[in-house]
Amino acid sequence: METLLLSRIQFAANISFHILFPTITIALGWFLLFFKLRWQWTGDLKWMEAYRFWVKIFALSFAMGVVSGITMSFQFGTNWPGFMETVGNIAGPLLAYEVMTAFFLEAVFIGIMLFGFSRVPNWLHTTATFLVAFGTTMSTFWIIVLNSWMHTPQGFEMVDGVAFATDWLAIIFNPSMPYRLAHMLLASGLTVSFLIAGIAAFRYILGDRKETVRSQIRVGLTFGALLIPIQIFMGDLHGLNTMEYQPAKVAAMEGNFSDTDGNTPLILFGLPNEETRTVDYAVKVPNMASIILTHSAEGSIPALDEFVTEEGDVLHPPVNAVFWSFRVMVATGMAMLLISWGSLAFLWRRADDGRRFAIRRLPKPLLYGLVPMALSGWVATLAGWYTTEIGRQPWLVNGVMTTEMAVADVPAPMVLSTLIGYLVIYAALLFAYIGVILYLSIKARHNEPLTELTPSSGGAVVDAISGNDRGIVPAE
């Protein structure tokens, strides 16, 4: 049992660390393509400056994503051998397609995208940028297919306790896949929108008033404002889909222990108590849960008590974790909605020269508020995954196998020592990662605005100003 618990913590720690970086690279790849195309079409070098700033952060995030991803691909064998032994016939081909169609594409073209600008024709560089973005999206597709299949499995039969595929289309297009894929891609888009707006706001506050910085605030805010309503709408659809296939999860998200008669209130906050099976100190909105989930005040929604057997076996997920992580996600989403639309409303007002979208029209509190929002995407994404994954427990593959069945019999002390090792390294790397992003933002202040597209633009100036005497500066 101890090995099981430690293995779960280790897996959760690894995947949580990993997902931070894909969340950035998936959408940032498309944003880089956007910056590059804007430059090609308008000839305005502020877009190239944006490209060159963010491509560094992309490269760094990508490297973090790759190394933590390689760790992930070993986790199945080292800690969850039972997973592959039971559902390997289905998980295997999906993972193989991810490696073959996505990983190689990204890994090969990232070299040309990062270091090829002055070596290959412009069209090839643009194509490479596109292929990297496309590759990260393909990889999202395949891994989400697998993950969704674990939530809503179909298209297989069990023979002697081993799953065999019977219908690949049914496996790939399993019921929760379209919702989860859309929700995740939007999550990535939002994460990057707010990251760009937040970092640009940080540079602006530090006194970096270049045109490129202002444009980045606008781009980030506009995409954020566009995507967040869609995300909220998708989230609602996702929840409805979950209610159909994983009712226990929805009951846990709502914190609904016993109410199945309709007119169920929405619990905004409260303390779910699994001992007494009630929610203490609940703040409720009458009828609202029924309205959201069934679009009618009388509708009845799933309740947790329905998932406790006569013998008292609990077949629903731990309530507190699901309840709270769901609320963190939704609250972050609401904060995104308010700050992006609020900022746009201020920007819409004309400045003295009659132009709209002047960044100086942005009130200080909003400008300063944008900076911590740079991390809001991470918070919401992690919270979302915790809702989904903890909500699936005690199942590993819903209705097919429990997490307990999959664990390796590696001695607990061994798992504990590797777990501590990973945690120490991850904490250090996260610290270094955020530190370097802040450092790059601060340093960018000394860059002269680009006036022509020369390979060595600005480098010497930066080095002179920042007292940088390193000689050649590769990969910068």
């Binding site: 080292t78 595929a165 390796a408 990969a475």
Partner: protein, 339 residues
Amino acid sequence: MIDLFGYPPDQWLPFVFAGLMGLSILLYVVLDGYDLGVGILTPLADDGDQKDMMVASIGPFWDANETWLVLAVGMLLVAFPAAHGLILSTLYLPVFILLVGLILRGVSFEFRVKARAKYKGLWNGLFFVGSLMATLAQGFMLGLYIMGLQVTALTLVFATLCALALVVGYAFIGSTWLILKGEAKLQANAIRWAKNCIWGLVIGIGAISLASPIVSPRIFDKWFAFPEMLYLSPLPVLSLVLLAYLWRTLSQMPRPRDLDAWKPFVCALGLFTLAFLGLAYSFYPYVVPEKLTIYEAASAPESLLIILIGACFVVPTILAYTALAYWVFRGKAKELRYD
């Protein structure tokens, strides 16, 4: 489902997948081998600039090189799930060391040039340590695997020997890469490093060739029987010829107009390939030595077929665009920059 050359699918599919997995492992070993090797050599650089140049020579390639490891583990995972669990949970700790090594060096590529200048030394150090850890772990796992995944004092000693030999082996292939990619002082250093490392390669390949038949009577019988010995003789003979040729080429370097700069690297590729073929021959048909054959460990034929169909289209494409990348970054290594 379809038979191939008269073999039913549950015979030929595992064989084909063992071949694909072998190919990924071989490509991983030689490709990541040279870039891990360059990492191991970095402390020997004359100065910071030379170190930067060494890293620049592998910068555009390392990610794709490591992806072959993902494919190899993926193949093991998807095609031989039973073996995957058995091997990886036995090698739990070395795998952890390998992963930590790969993490450290992978992120150091980026951090060493992006963090504040005063931390560059730290990241350079981690780059070296990471490369070394990953290589030691790989050699150690290879050694234990050859010993049939048995853990005793003797097998641990052998595994440690393999780990050290692989460090020298990777440093060797790394220096031949630098001979190809480097100029002037760097190239001269690389030639010296290659000459110093070549013996490690000889000891490593020699020790493995001697040890595996001694440990396993089955392997002994496979090699020292007639007429197999005859068909197999090209392996050791070719290896010796290549070694002699390498030594001669290295002694004549550097030559005017950079003649022959590519030869040591290609010979090194050849040597690694021959050694690998020998190993593959010894262990076939086992995927877990003496315990589990590829036929027993294989996934359902339906699942394998669906991967194979994809692989037939995708693997040639992967090779094609990998070739494109090597072509784009052909010639001597230059300073890496984003603009």
